[in-house]
Symmetry: C2
Subunit: 290 residues, 2 copies
DNA sequence: GCTACCTGTCTACCTTATAAGACATTTCAC
DNA sequence: GTGAAATGTCTTATAAGGTAGACAGGTAGC
């Protein structure tokens, strides 16, 4: 990694500005505040801001014009892959893009206490741990650490894992996968993950932890996944249900068809991670067709 | 702001050790190598190692015993609030905890292009923008930026917004809220958000963007929410449905009763009864800074 | 042309991180 | 008890990151 290692504050500001540019909060073509304004905003000196801007310029994210200002490059906003939460597995195929997997690690280990508890393993019981990185069009976007009870893990090989989704392997082995529970959070990239995902240390990551059970309530898979938010985000559609006073949102069970591929990409500037500001009338269509 | 942000090498070592602790490579209760050994291992001075260990101690991940050694803490994980995705609004009340709201900003503005597009506003059409911070037991955990079309925003007052949920206000005003679309990602805390959430600049945040429509397909609310992942995370239970070859996950429609927070952590014993795939809370992710 | 504001560049100075030790104190195995 | 090894607490010195300000030169609005 070329790294260039800017010091702390400069790097932090670099990451923050980069984030705002990539997710569209700073619209392409627009002018950044002056270096002195940025310095004041973040409470640092102008030199430090300039170091951050230097790196952004190297990245090709900004265009600095002496006398005029610093501008966000036009093409710098990126549309992340969108994973529909109700259809977690098949979305990648639907996107019609090429994904591949790199298997970083494969071993039988004594799992940590939290993993053992989640899977319902007894003390001393081992688990197969694998670490994989998923790439789309050659670019890594997820870092997956899975634990599977040893007795289940032995039903497939390391080579299998490098070429097939884990859930598919489990089902091929006759494991019935029925229920799962997952939570979503955020964290920062540590050294290993940063390198695997081609990120700077300290970059933000989406974090997903999922435990999968078979019908008997026996844990069959523990997944800890980290996603690059600029390349991957979760999406879901909701409908409002329930009587007045007890209303709540329920997820829409969508058919597993592909989402209409976005044709244009300009200017949408998805605030944070909004995948596609989604044509407003779509809800109309769906409603009438339902 | 207490964090003191260790510098480069110390931070790198902190992150490395932290990762090894969190993913179980360093077993809870076990002793770390001596400070001098660690220093030699990473090629830094002992002072630097000690700084990293200081931070780990503040995080509660290690226990330093003079003369004896440094040990990995047994558990001590902070449980964040858990928001069930299918019941996003009411979970806070269900938790039986006191939440309050601080209204930071309230104004009618010209929305950014992306917000205008999401809400279906015409050019020049204004929107009411409010910025609120939610606190639980006095501790801030979310930063909410909402945009509402001006014609709808005028149906309630600034004081209303400071005391009632926005969706409640909308429904009180006769707006029928029917569909929504949201996506979840991760980002870094900028200066204003960091201050509002009592975080360091550059801390990781969960990001949620939601657009709500009425039955006619007209956008009524655009929400951009940022959550402290150490205090708030999303959770969902899933079931596997569909025929072989077209299987996918579907969310479980749960009754809106409160979930007893599972404090158990051990093997769960005989789980012959399958009906309750109770979420075994996995303390995978931990706060990273603050 | 005048002016205000921007980036580019440089200098001098201060603060902090890191290194490399010395030394005290505690713990634990023997 | 003794001694090895661990953390806690200093010191001194060097390196690196960050600050503050001045100044040159370009650009654009008036």
């Amino acid at each position: 990694m070329v790294d260039a290692v800017e010091p702390l504050k400069a790097r932090r500001i670099y990451l923050l500005l980069r984030e705002r540019i990539l997710n569209g909060a700073l619209e392409p073509g627009s002018r950044l505040p002056g270096e002195l304004s940025i310095a004041a905003e973040y409470g640092v000196s102008r030199v430090t801001v300039r170091r951050a801007l230097d790196t952004l310029a190297i990245d090709g994210l900004i265009d600095r014009r002496p006398g005029s200002g610093t501008f966000v490059q036009e093409n710098s906003s990126v549309q992340p892959i969108v994973a529909d939460l109700s259809n977690v597995l098949s979305h990648l195929v639907e996107m019609g893009r090429r994904t591949s997997v790199r298997l970083l690690s494969f071993a039988y280990v004594n799992p940590s206490e939290s993993v053992a508890a989640a899977l319902g393993l007894g003390p001393g019981e081992r688990a197969q741990r694998s670490i994989r990185v998923r790439l789309i069009d050659g670019a890594p976007f997820s870092y997956l650490v899975t634990h599977v009870p040893e007795r289940i893990g032995v039903t497939y090989s390391e080579a299998d894992l490098a070429s097939m989704p884990l859930l598919g392997l489990l089902e091929r082995s006759g494991i019935v996968v029925e229920e799962a529970s997952q939570s979503i959070g955020a964290t920062l990239a540590g050294p290993d993950v940063a390198e695997a995902l081609a990120l700077e240390i300290g970059s933000p990551l989406l974090s997903l932890t999922r435990v999968v059970w078979d019908p008997s309530g026996q844990g069959v898979e523990h997944l800890h996944a980290l996603y690059r938010p600029d390349r991957y985000s979760f999406h879901m559609d909701l409908v409002r249900t329930g009587a007045v006073g007890a209303r709540r949102w329920n997820p829409v069970a969508k058919p597993s068809t592909a989402r209409p591929e976005p044709k244009k990409r300009k200017a949408e500037g998805p605030k944070s991670l909004k995948p596609k500001p989604r044509p407003v009338r779509v809800s109309n269509q769906r409603r009438t067709s339902t």
